[in-house]
């Protein structure tokens, strides 16, 4: 005989697993600190690459000026500027990712909690069905 309660729960679980659950389950493999640290690291690397590319574009744009004044440029100030902006960007991206991905992790945990509750219920139904095992 069909157990409609079980089917309904299994259907809900399957829908969740197929859509948003995929990411949540993936996330659940990490500890929060590990996950957030990993994402922050990724953000910082991406920000560095982006910043480097922007610098490259600016350098090419100003190349004529740079080449002409190569001797009397104040490299120290330029270097400090580049470093300062880099630190600002890294801080913004780092903290942004820290907050953003922490929130994301918590939200996914919450959803996963509901998922586990349903799994438990399903488990109970299985046990009820086969009490001897």
């Amino acid at each position: 005989m069909l157990n409609y309660r079980k089917i309904r729960i299994m259907h809900k679980l399957a829908v969740y697993e197929n859509k948003e659950g995929k990411e949540d389950i993936q996330l659940s493999k990490y500890y929060k600190t590990d996950y957030v640290r990993y994402q922050v690291l990724k953000s910082i690397i991406c920000a560095t690459v982006g910043y480097a590319l922007i610098l490259l574009l600016i350098f090419l744009y100003q190349s004529e000026y740079l080449v002409r004044n190569a001797v009397n440029l104040d490299y120290k100030t330029i270097g400090l500027y580049i470093l300062g902006i880099y630190i600002i960007i890294i801080t913004i991206y780092g903290f942004g990712s820290l907050i953003g991905y922490s929130l994301k992790y918590d939200a996914s945990r919450k959803k996963l909690g509901r998922y586990y509750k349903l799994l438990n219920r399903l488990n109970k139904i299985y046990k009820e069905e086969s009490p001897e095992s």
Partner: protein
Amino acid sequence: MIQLLVFRERIKNLYQRYDLYIIPIVKFLFALIAFETINREIGYDERIKALPVLLALSLLSAFMPSAIMVLLAAFMSVLHVYSESPILAIIVGIIMIILYVLFARFTPKLGYVLLAIPVLYTLKIPFVIPILLGLIATPISIIPTVCGVIIYFVFQVVKTAVTMQVNKTVEDILLLYTNVIDNLTGNKLMILSFVIFAMIILVTYFVRKMKFDYAFEIAIVSGAVTSILGFLISDLILDRSDEIISMILGTIASAAIVYAIHFFRFTLDYSGVEYAQFEDDVYYYYVKAVPKITVTAPQKNVKHFNVKNVDKNISKTNSYNYDDADIDDYDEDEAYLHVNDYENDDE
């Protein structure tokens, strides 16, 4: 109105029944339109423009996640530019990578916005995206929207830049490069467009979140009004008064499209609002529940009654074998029904 609701129900039923086929078909069409627009706008390479390539790419996009479609479109446009001017292609590639690593990677689910905005820009209805995103997403969608606007303007600049004759000397290449960057960074229209698009998203989003009746519909209208006012001001500032009519028409069309999408998502029935109040240990709840309008599409069953044969049929019904249950709920209408069944069987 009721016909529209029935129509919506029909479409929904159709979609639910055949979504396995409809989704790839819609994705295929969207990819086809997007790639075709790219070909028409910057189709410099005849090989990529060829119909089999176009169809193959669209088909691939139909069965892949939307990120793949965006990636394919990016590759395609860079290759088109490459065939005309490798230097420009490198610049475009670098700008795309910067946009991705600094901004777009944070909103992976809205990747299609990056492709949709340039495509809709060429169709003169880019306003669909900010109004729609204000309605269904959060203000974070400003990030991909702005990236989409940048991509569109990059290609506008590239289109004018490829006409420049470039020799292979370093000076010429640098000249071309500084020209592109000057045109991009000095593009006031682009900067105003960012601001206005962001404002449309914010206005639509905050109006939608408000707690009065018809908030969704009013949000669409206010988004459209923000767009019209914003671009009106920008067109007047930048002296582009010839664009005003097409902008207004485009905005109205965009609002209509968004309304249609909203209509298919759900329509709320404000006449059936229910208020409920209850409490628990910590809070007192004032709940306002607005029912969604749902109608069931009527099933049309056509039955033919042949007047001429009524007498004959009645005599036939006498020979129909009823069991006890049939006799219990026998009535006159049903008699005709059985008659009819009988006739069909005969045929």
